[in-house]
């Protein structure tokens, strides 16, 4: 399916508030092409895809604009909705950013928050991702026998979780 068709289908499944959110985003995009909004406005009103009408608005940049609108629509949809798992994934992104900036204490706070959440809900893959960052941060702590025990506890839990996942597939 062509991207223009996919985009049209996608937009037609959006609620009016989701569409409003995309429009707002397109309006403030500082580097965005003004034609993006024009094409989106036309597309949104089309019950059946009418490519010539879109091409008329977009001109030579048609293909690039359609690609941009498709990825923007998906990104906006993602930003607009955040369920629990998406929230955790977002926290994982932020942990990575904070660690990259060496703001370890701030990263630790988020880790501790999402660790509880992932453990409580048995989100094994997400817990494992959180644990990987926790292990990274523990590596910067002063070396001690106690630290070795902490590592052991984390790895033991991760290994147990794998066994549980394996069993779940077998059953």
């Amino acid at each position: 399916m062509a991207t223009s068709e996919q985009l049209h289908r996608l937009i037609s499944h959006f609620t009016s508030s989701e569409k409003g959110y995309i429009k707002k985003y397109l309006n403030i995009d500082p580097v965005g092409n003004k034609k993006n909004i024009l094409v989106f406005d036309v597309l949104e009103k089309q019950k059946v895809l009418n490519e010539p009408a879109l091409k008329q608005k977009a001109g030579k940049e048609y293909a690039a604009i359609i690609d941009f609108l498709f990825s923007t629509a998906l990104n906006c949809l993602e930003n607009y909705h955040k369920n629990e798992k998406m929230g955790i994934r977002s926290s994982l992104n932020q942990i990575e950013i904070l660690i990259e900036k060496n703001l370890y204490l701030q990263a630790e706070k988020i880790i501790s928050k999402v660790k509880t959440l992932t453990e409580k809900n048995n989100y094994y893959d997400l817990y494992s991702e959180v644990a990987e960052w926790e292990i990274t941060l523990l590596g910067s702590k002063p070396p001690s026998d106690e630290l070795m025990k902490v590592f052991d506890r984390i790895f033991d839990k991760l290994e147990k979780d794998i066994s549980k996942q394996e069993k779940a597939i077998d059953s």
């Binding site: 289908r9 998906l74 990104n75 994934r89 990575e96 950013i97 904070l98 701030q106 910067s140 590592f151």
Partner: protein, 505 residues
């Protein structure tokens, strides 16, 4: 209670590019005048030291501190959300595809979700990020079930990934444990008999399939590298570093996924070369690492700082304290540019220890004393060896400064301290004895040559009896110090000659 400086630290860690992005995004919510949080952002940006009282006054929140706290929190989350939106790192891209696929499934758009999830699977398998790979496959399974397609192949793939992940965790754990042990102390006898080292020493790679074993191999080589390094088998350490370099060449996209391991490969290379007494090569490797950081646009000041740490260490090791002195201002300013959150006991301990060594090397004992005192008085503790050697160095510095009263007073407490830390190695004990006797003589700097010769002979003997004594000398070159006193030649000249004038142009 002290106000939280998290927001200040976060704003100060932003690059120009980050700041511009955040400022333009803040236009999203503007209605009429500028946003309060955009104003707060601008005010914090201007501050050199966090001053909350000033901010509260400027933004007129004196009567409503709760609202100010809310604004701070809002701005903090706004910045993080924007940094997340702006970043394009691989894990985030995959997570985003997974999120979007889940949302498309909710809207009944299974075919579009399938395309996204195929792409997420491809990215996660290429980078061997097991958790994201499994998450992608679990959505793939939902889509397959929707289309009533068989799912056995998906389950089989997940089983294989779980098995690979188990092996990976095995090496990851070994690496963590052996690294802790190695960082605790180098004064370990019969290293191969120690549980942590023995396990790694006897390990062979479990997973052979290259589609699943990149991260295994990485931690396998890193762990083994630590063991060989601890055993001072630098030839084998170097072989492992070269294996790692080959891996980075073969899988360049993995550099982003495991950047700290990539950084450590080059860092370790320089470190091993310097231990191998290949000082020129080590300096070139450090320059290469610095260039890599430039090429990859790595703006993290902590990585730069660690490069300087190593640079100074290598100069110190080959006696080129004068060369170290030339870059000491850059070293200091890189450290000063670190945010509060960047500073940790490891980096601080090394900084003061290395700088003290530089000043000792150029016979600026007052400056050396200042930095050694930073370690001792502020109890900067990370590596037990450095903590102990700092105590010993402090005594030698007082000896050089002619502080015989202070020396006599401090020897007892240092002795107790080292004893408690299980750090009274033969050599250290003999130096303490020597200083104790010297402190009894009124003018300690005029100790006769014979006593230096006697101590030197004793240490030579210690080295023959127990190879661990060599580690003590590596931290602080007592022999070169004694030679300089015996021959009345500056310490720096003796140290340079000992390295065979390693960096001679």
């Amino acid at each position: 209670m002290k106000p939280s400086e998290n927001l200040y630290d976060l704003i100060k860690s932003l690059t120009t590019d980050d700041t511009n992005f955040i400022k333009s995004s803040s236009q999203f919510h503007i209605k009429g005048k500028e946003n309060k949080y955009a104003i707060l952002f601008g005010e914090i940006e201007k501050q050199d030291v966090y001053d909350e009282t000033d901010l509260i006054a400027k933004l007129n929140y004196t009567e409503d501190l709760n609202k100010f706290a809310f604004l701070k929190n809002y701005l903090y989350n706004f910045i993080l959300d924007n940094l997340e939106g702006k970043n394009t790192f691989v894990r985030k891209k995959i997570r985003s595809k997974i999120n979007q696929a889940e949302l498309l499934i909710q809207k009944g758009l299974f075919d579009m979700a399938a395309e996204l999830i195929d792409s997420a699977e491809e990215d996660s398998s290429k980078t061997q990020l097991f958790d994201l790979w499994i998450a992608s496959l679990s959505i793939k399974k939902i889509i397959a079930l929707h289309y009533r397609k068989p799912v056995a192949a998906i389950d089989k793939e997940v089983q294989k990934i779980l098995k690979a992940k188990k092996s990976f965790l095995h090496y990851r754990r070994l690496f963590c444990l052996v690294r802790v042990k190695h960082h605790q102390s180098a004064f370990i006898r019969d290293i191969e008999q120690m549980k942590e080292f023995k396990e790694v020493h006897e390990e062979e790679l479990l997973e052979s399939d290259p589609a699943y074993n990149f991260h295994h191999k990485l931690f396998f080589y890193l762990s083994k590298g630590i063991v060989y390094y601890a055993k001072k088998d630098f030839a084998k350490s170097l072989i492992l570093v070269n294996e790692l370099l080959k891996m980075w060449d073969k899988y360049p996209w993995m550099i982003e996924v495991r950047f700290s391991a990539y950084f450590n490969t080059f860092f370790n290379k320089a470190q091993i070369e310097s231990n191998f007494k290949q000082f020129s090569k080590a300096i070139n490797s450090i320059r290469e690492l610095n260039n890599k950081l430039n090429e990859l646009n790595k703006e993290n000041p902590f990585e730069r700082y660690m490069v300087y740490n190593l640079w100074i260490r290598v100069y110190n090791m080959c006696g080129y304290f004068d060369e170290a002195l030339k870059i000491i201002d850059e070293y200091k300013s890189t450290r000063d540019s670190l945010q509060r959150g960047n500073i940790n006991p490891y980096s601080e301990q090394l900084y003061h220890f290395y700088v003290a060594n530089v000043y000792f090397g150029v016979s600026d004992f007052k400056s050396a004393n200042k930095h050694i005192n930073e370690i001792i008085n502020n109890s900067i503790e990370y590596n037990n060896d450095v903590t102990c050697i700092a105590q010993l160095m402090s005594l030698v510095i007082h000896y050089e400064l002619g502080n015989s009263d202070l020396l006599a007073y401090r020897i007892k407490s240092v002795f107790r301290f080292l004893n408690k830390r299980d750090c009274l190695e033969l050599t250290i004990n003999h130096v303490l004895d020597f200083l104790r006797r010297s402190a009894k003589v009124k003018n300690s700097t005029k100790t006769d040559k014979d006593r230096f010769i006697e101590l030197r002979a004793q240490i030579e003997q210690d080295l023959k009896i127990d190879p661990i004594q060599k580690d003590v000398i590596e931290y602080f070159d007592i022999l070169s110090w004694l030679d300089s006193r015996i021959e009345n030649i500056p310490f720096i000249e003796i140290a340079k000659a000992k390295s065979g004038h390693a960096l001679k142009a």
